[in-house]
Each structure stands twice: as structure tokens, then as C-alpha cells.
């Protein structure tokens, strides 16, 4: 394969798996800025080692493996400044993400319809938080509530979204073949 074909394959594969990879890293770190840093490094490592990847095999699994080591490396560097989960914890979480990939993908596919079911005020808060990237304090000011109240509302929204998704996924599964 010549370099331009290589580049094209790499970018195609990465584009296809970008979402999955983002969710994987973000779920492990839970912080957008950390996830961005890690992904950035992981992609460079992937590109550098793309020669080791065998076309036709599972790029998703390969890219997650690369990203996993970047998560570990990132934690090591940050250990001094912040709380860090143990290696055992991180490994088990990564394993769960890998094993439950299909299940989590179904949850992902269902999430948007559950967000759509939220009442308008809650939808607005979700948008401000996730789309606008507003801080809790800024959201509080915009919706005219205290920061504490916004904090609690966001927690409640996430919990009800989780329940809505669980319910729908279970329902779809019992329908047999998914349409």
C-alpha cells in the first residue's frame, strides 16, 4: 500500500470509529478536556503504528486498545495533581466497556429519543450544559435558579434518562429482530 492509500484508509477507518472511540475514552475519564487530550495522543500513536494494523480486522478494537494505554499513561502523568482511580478499577471499567459494546451501542441509539421526551425546561438545561458547554453557575443565571438547584436538576435528568433508556432497550430486545 502506498502512503496516500495508507492515509486514506487510516482516515476512513478513524472517521468510522470516531464516535465509538470518543465514547470509550470519555466514559473512562468522564472529563471532556482529559478525553480530548488522550484522544489526541491516541490518534497520533495510531497513525504512527498504523502499519501494525491489519486491514480487514477490527479497527474499533485495535483503536480502543491503543486508547486504553493512553488513558493509563495519562493517569500516571496526572497522578500528582488529582484523585486517581486504581489500575484495577480502570482495567475493569475498560473491560466492561469492551464486553458491553453492543449493549452500550443500543443505549446510545436510544438516548436521543429519551432526551426528546424530557420537558422543555430540562431539555434546555441539557442543551446549555452539553451543547453550549456552560458551567453550572452560568446555567443557574440563565434559568434563574440557584447553582445548587441546577446541580440537583442535572443529576435528576441524567438519572431519568438512564431509566428511560434502560426501559426502551429492554422493550426493543423483547421484540426480537430490531427494525
Amino acid at each position: 500500500m502506498n502512503p496516500s492509500q495508507d492515509t486514506e484508509s487510516f482516515i476512513r477507518l478513524l472517521s468510522e470509529h470516531e464516535r465509538g472511540l470518543y465514547l470509550y475514552v470519555m466514559a473512562m475519564t468522564s472529563h471532556a478536556a482529559d478525553a480530548d487530550d488522550i484522544l489526541q495522543e491516541a490518534k497520533v500513536v495510531m497513525w504512527r503504528h498504523f502499519g501494525d494494523f491489519k486491514l480487514g480486522t477490527n479497527f474499533g478494537a485495535w483503536s480502543r486498545k491503543v486508547a486504553f494505554y493512553q488513558v493509563l499513561a495519562y493517569r500516571k502523568r496526572k497522578q500528582r495533581d488529582r484523585l486517581c482511580f486504581s489500575d484495577k478499577f480502570v482495567e475493569l471499567v475498560a473491560e466492561e466497556l469492551e464486553d458491553e459494546e453492543g449493549h452500550l451501542e443500543r443505549r446510545y441509539q436510544t438516548l436521543a429519543s429519551c432526551v426528546a421526551k424530557l420537558n422543555p425546561e430540562h431539555q434546555r438545561i441539557v442543551n446549555l450544559r452539553y451543547e453550549g458547554g456552560e458551567s453550572i453557575d452560568a446555567i443557574a443565571e440563565l434559568v434563574g435558579r440557584s447553582s445548587g438547584a441546577v446541580y440537583r436538576v442535572l443529576s435528576r435528568i441524567r438519572k431519568s434518562l438512564h431509566e428511560c433508556v434502560s426501559h426502551q432497550v429492554a422493550e426493543n430486545l423483547s421484540d426480537g429482530e430490531m427494525v
Binding site: S4, I11, E16, M26, D37, D81, F85, G176, M178
Partner: protein
């Protein structure tokens, strides 16, 4: 307290701890508690992962930043960004908009090299953040003059928005404007594949490209060469069936890479080059008029063997799938569905098999076939769950009976179909080989090569020239009825490559 109640309590505790992780106010004691819950209790672990994944998904789905969260922007930014060692502190308290990226963590030299390579390859600006289900607009068909199109998979009216796909212009002149700003004029007959706003593949014919500054790095691939543009206007001509590539630069700079050797030469204004797999010549072009005549005259490939591509769109080709039970749901007009399913009460109800017919009559008689491969493009069917089908093995059979049509073929009438099982009736067919699609793979290409396929095609090309292949999935499903339905692009699909035979012919 019974078990359900205690799990309810634990569940709430995990939820609360998840919130603290998300908010970034987890205390040392909380952390210890969460760790022991997640490590020791499988349910707690599952819940924690679901919550974190959901938080991530909300970010991805709703964050405008996800849109630009791409290799391109990151790596490009990296080249311009100043090193900033102040890593952001945790969590929601700080705005996502304020995030900074720490470049100092990288081994800068290697990153710079990787960035340079990607930038040089020229497709960086369009590589990333392609969300599933949102097809990328590659180009717009801005102008057509006296055009007639052949077997095209893309819309061809003026103003049509084009996704990735193949265009075959039979007559006339058509102008495309790529999303990158590149203007490409097609001079019939042209066979071209649009791949991205920065990349297309010219199978045959003549095109003229006008590349504005912001689209530097635009690439045209041909069978013998890759052309990387550096802001210019240039013309390309590729001879029929993978002939030599002729390039003429009207204004600016184009890098030409010979595909099989990797040799790169730079052409500047007034230069022309002719590239085949055997030769790579650069010449000075004396006048624009000469340019055109050269381009046309030199369309014959001087090399010996050549590759020919035949799809199910060509000639008497066809593709279809049959399903064990007639059904109005779970069908597709544009995809070829395959499944191997046995359900206790429904028998083979959901099973599906694919039939392909290729017309080899366009191959010149008397020329030997040297190599052959079958290529199928994988798509997501959105039917069934991938979790219930492991890595799947597919079998390709050669079928002797070519007399079937898409309109009338059924499970019962399909040639060489074993009505009561997942495979073929071996009294009317021969197994040519197998290929595997790993679990969870929904895109890319798969295919089959090998002597059995080659011999079958050699024999058929001497006969009536029609070839029927049957593709079945040998691998069943883990959960009856609910397993994934695999899908391949059919000749009716608007964006993907139809089933294709690639054949190498001797001189």
C-alpha cells in the same frame, strides 16, 4: 431488607457517586467507596459504565465541539498552538469552551512529522468527525450541458447534491463543485468515483480541475498514478480500462506519484506527464492546443496486462436477495441482505441469501484471465443485533443456472438454493471459497480471490459470458431470530460501490 431493596439502595449510591465523578467533586472517601463497589459488584460496575457512557454520549450528541472533533482540527491546531502546560482542572465547574490542550505532553518531533505527513497527503481538512448516519456531501453538480448518464448511482440533475459514489457521464460536459471549493469539469465519456471533498478516483476519461488555495492538497487517483494538487488548474486524461494517465498543468504545481513505484515528480506550469505502470515521462508542453491533442492521442496504455472492473450494473448483470418467508418489513431496495437464522416456530423465516450475476461479455474474447477477485461493500442493515452473531463466515458458490431476474426470484425458484438449510444445493453449484466479517464491522469491503473463482470465470468467459454467484452466511446466530442481518451494497444503492468483479487480462 430483601435483596431487591438492598440493590435499590446500592443503585442510588452508585448514581450519586457517578454524579460526583461527573461534577468533579469526588472526595477521597467517595473514591474509595466507588472503587470497592465497582470492583466487587458486577451490577454496580455495569451501572457505573452505563452512566459514564451516557454522559459521554450526551457530550458527543449535543456538543457542537463534537462536530469539529476531528483528526484534522486537532492536528492542525497542534501545529499552531502554543505549548500550554496548565492542564485544566476537573469537571463541570469549568466551561468546556475554555478547555486547553496540552501539547507539551507529546514528543513534539514525532508529532510534527506525523502532522506534516498528513498535511502533505492533503486530505486532512476533511478526514474527521463523520457521524454515522449523516452522509458527507462531497460535491454539487453545478452545471450540465447536453449530458447523458449511464448506470449512475448518484443523482444527475443540475444542482444535485452528491455524496460519495460513482458517476458515469456518457455524453456532454458537466461541472462539479466539491465542498472543498475545487471545480472539476468532466468531459464525456468519464467514469469517476467521488470519495471525499478532497479526493476522487478517475477510472477513465478526461477532467479539468481548478483548485483554489484553500483546497490545496486535492487528490485525483487513477489506476497508475496519484495526483496531488498545490493550488492550480490542470487537466487529466485516463485511457479506457485502466490506461495510462496523462496530466497537463495549465497553471501552478501538481505532484504526480507513480502508483506501483511510489516515484514522485513535480510538474509546474506548462509541464505534462504520462504515467503508466511501466513508464513515467515528463515533457514540456509547447502550447495549450497541443496539450489537448496529446491528452486524447495518448490514451492507449502501452503496458501489457490490464485490470478490468465489471459490476452487477454492467450489461446483463443483476443482484438480488431471497428470503425464506415473504415479508414486507425487514426488506431493502438498495441493500443485499444476508442472514442465517433458524427459529423454532418460524423455521428459516428470517434467512436470506444473495444472488449476483456478472456479464463478462464485454471482455475481449481470446484474452486470458490472469487474476480475479470479487468485492462487496458492507453496509449496516439496521436489522438485528450484532451482539448475537459472532465473527461471521460467508460462502460464495458458483451457480450454473444464470436464468433468473430480480423481479421474479424467490426462495423457492432461486437456482441452486437449498430450501431447507443455510447453504446451497451442491448438485447445482460449487463452493468457490469463504470470507469473514468480524463481529461489529459495518463498513468497508470484503471479497474473495483464489484459483477456484479464477477458474470458474475463465471457463464462463469462454461460454455464454454470464456468471451467477450465490453468497450465503454459514454462521448462524446466538440468540434465535434476533441476530444481525448483514448487508452489502446493491447496484441500486445511491452511494456505495455495487458488487464488483476485478479481472486482470493478459495482453
Amino acid at each position: 431488607m430483601n435483596q431487591d431493596e438492598s440493590w435499590q439502595q446500592l443503585r442510588n449510591e452508585v448514581f450519586d457517586l457517578c454524579e460526583k465523578v461527573i461534577h468533579g467533586d469526588l472526595l477521597e472517601a467517595d473514591k474509595d467507596r466507588l472503587e470497592s463497589l465497582v470492583i466487587e459488584d458486577k451490577r454496580a460496575r455495569k451501572l457505573y459504565v452505563e452512566c459514564m457512557h451516557q454522559h459521554a454520549a450526551l457530550h458527543w450528541q449535543r456538543s457542537a465541539e463534537a462536530e469539529i472533533f476531528s483528526l484534522s482540527s486537532e492536528l492542525k491546531d497542534a501545529t499552531a498552538r502554543e505549548s500550554d502546560a496548565d492542564a485544566e482542572t476537573l469537571g463541570e465547574r469549568s466551561s468546556v469552551n475554555e478547555r486547553k490542550v496540552v501539547v507539551g505532553l507529546w514528543t513534539w518531533g514525532k508529532v510534527a512529522a506525523a502532522v506534516a505527513m498528513l498535511l502533505a497527503a492533503g486530505i486532512l481538512g476533511w478526514g474527521g468527525a463523520v457521524k454515522e448516519g449523516a452522509p458527507v456531501v462531497v460535491a454539487t453538480l453545478v452545471k450540465t450541458a447536453n449530458c447523458s448518464w449511464q448506470g449512475g448511482a448518484l443523482p444527475t440533475e443540475e444542482g444535485a447534491v452528491l455524496e460519495a459514489g460513482r458517476l458515469r457521464l456518457q455524453q456532454g460536459l458537466a461541472r462539479l463543485k466539491f465542498a472543498s471549493g475545487v471545480e472539476l469539469t468532466l468531459e464525456a465519456p468519464v467514469d469517476i468515483e467521488l470519495l471525499s471533498p478532497m479526493l476522487c478516483r478517475l477510472h477513465s476519461g478526461t477532467v479539468v480541475a481548478k483548485v483554489p488555495e484553500q483546497a490545496q492538497g486535492f487528490m485525483i487517483e487513477t489506476q497508475s498514478a496519484t495526483l496531488v494538487d498545490h493550488g492550480t488548474e490542470f487537466g487529466v486524461h485516463v485511457g479506457q480500462q485502466g490506461g495510462a494517465t496523462n496530466v497537463v498543468v495549465f497553471d501552478g504545481i501538481v505532484d504526480v506519484e507513480q502508483r506501483n513505484t511510489g516515484e514522485v515528480q513535480r510538474l509546474t506550469t506548462g509541464n505534462g506527464s504520462k504515467v503508466s505502470s511501466q513508464s513515467f515521462v515528463i515533457t514540456e508542453v509547447v502550447s495549450p492546443e497541443l496539450v489537448e491533442s496529446r491528452a486524447v492521442v495518448a490514451s492507449v496504455d502501452s503496458s501489457g496486462s490490464e485490470w478490468v472492473t465489471i459490476t452487477t450494473q454492467d450489461g446483463g448483470g443483476e443482484d438480488a436477495y431471497v428470503q425464506a418467508t415473504e415479508s414486507d418489513i425487514h426488506t431493502s431496495e438498495t441493500l443485499l441482505l444476508v442472514k442465517n437464522s433458524e427459529v423454532f416456530d418460524k423455521g428459516l423465516g428470517y434467512s436470506r441469501k444473495v444472488y449476483l450475476r456478472f456479464d463478462l461479455q464485454s471482455l475481449a474474447k481470446g484474452r486470458d484471465l490472469l487474476e480475479a477477485s470479487l468485492q462487496l461493500t458492507i453496509k449496516k442493515s439496521h436489522f438485528g443485533y450484532a451482539s448475537f452473531v459472532p465473527d461471521a463466515e460467508f460462502v460464495v458458490y458458483a451457480v450454473s443456472d444464470d436464468d433468473w431476474s430480480r423481479e421474479s426470484i424467490t426462495w423457492q425458484t432461486a437456482p441452486a438454493n437449498n430450501h431447507t438449510g443455510g447453504e446451497a444445493d451442491l448438485s447445482q453449484s460449487v463452493e468457490l471459497g469463504t470470507f469473514v466479517i468480524p463481529q461489529g464491522v459495518y463498513s468497508g469491503q470484503v471479497g474473495l480471490e483464489g484459483d477456484a473463482l479464477l477458474k470458474f470465470l475463465q471457463q464462463e468467459s469462454k461460454g455464454d459470458g454470464m456468471v451467477t454467484l450465490l453468497v450465503v452466511r454459514r454462521t448462524g446466530e446466538i440468540r434465535k431470530g434476533s441476530g444481525l442481518v448483514h448487508a452489502f451494497v446493491s447496484k441500486r444503492h445511491p452511494g456505495g460501490a455495487a458488487p464488483t468483479l476485478k479481472v486482470k487480462l493478459a495482453r
